[in-house]
Symmetry: C2
Amino acid sequence: MIRLYDYLESGNAYKVRLLLHLLEIPFERVELDILKRETRTPEFLAKNPNGRIPAVELEDGRVLFESNAILSYFAEDTPYAGADRWQRALILQWMFFEQYSHEPNIATLRFWHFAKLLADKSPQEIAAKRTWGEAALAVMEQHLARAPWFVGERFTIADIALFAYTHVAGEGGFELARYPAVQRWIARVEAQPCFVPITHDFGVPASPVP
Amino acid sequence: MIRLYDYLESGNAYKVRLLLHLLEIPFERVELDILKRETRTPEFLAKNPNGRIPAVELEDGRVLFESNAILSYFAEDTPYAGADRWQRALILQWMFFEQYSHEPNIATLRFWHFAKLLADKSPQEIAAKRTWGEAALAVMEQHLARAPWFVGERFTIADIALFAYTHVAGEGGFELARYPAVQRWIARVEAQPCFVPITHDFGVPASPVP
């Protein structure tokens, strides 16, 4: 069985859980507490030298890391991938936007709240994350005011990648009420068949535990 | 003709210039000075709402942004792409590693040197970029001590993506002499047929100017 190295609070790991659920691919979870540095042990670094979750281990032992690469791998030749070369490129465009312009600001502020790290940060650092996070949400709002999904006429892994930390942006102090098109898109994602919420809102594991 | 919105000092833009040269795809360049905020004009924001170079405009007016998405688009079905589903996933893994763990540290320190912004930054900020940049180089060193290329037995867009800022990491104060396998890999990349150096070492435009 596929093994997911996971952390339930992580939006990056949630992306993979959500896609595997949508595709009805069974998997087992190995929960690693990033706050306890369980992703920096020699055993885990032998699997992912970059020391981060999520990582996926296939049944033959091959390991893939980076959430959006994992999404691309499992989505290939499914309706969650792009239908042609241009759509594949646009999906990657939005996934790289997510990892470069969105996640380092929106997910990081949420993590600083969650891990009680805000007091260690300078007001300038917090303000910069806030400014760039708002800029990313504004780019999303502009796109979603004109289109129901990020690429083409359907829900793809570009939407999964961007949904993961957007729908919990309020936990980092962002006001999603300022982004009505984003809010309508969040409702469309949550209405997908087989949708599962991020697990920290759930209370019970979203998936089989090994 | 394809139009590249470009900035000659940018490693992200250089990735695209290098691949287009390797593929012998003609293109014209529109140089935008990021220091003068030429990527934040209403005209350019209408092309890339995220306000960054590189962006590519096709002959029919469609625009693609994010350097690694552009690499993936042009490399599809060429020897610079992965040969199968697993290789495609590994290429994306390393390209997302580049944008998340490598570029924000190594490219940013180089930019702070280049744009004379170091004095505005706190010692903690500079030290954090240095620490995480060294960590990314160490991950690369570990991989390249065992394999000639990032994915499979040949030079792919994963190598192009990682080469762009690695080979000029010294300009941000990193000592590449500490990473001998990385240095040997840099020499292998530079030995590729049709290789062109990053243009700021060049003195003249690497490509036709419109």
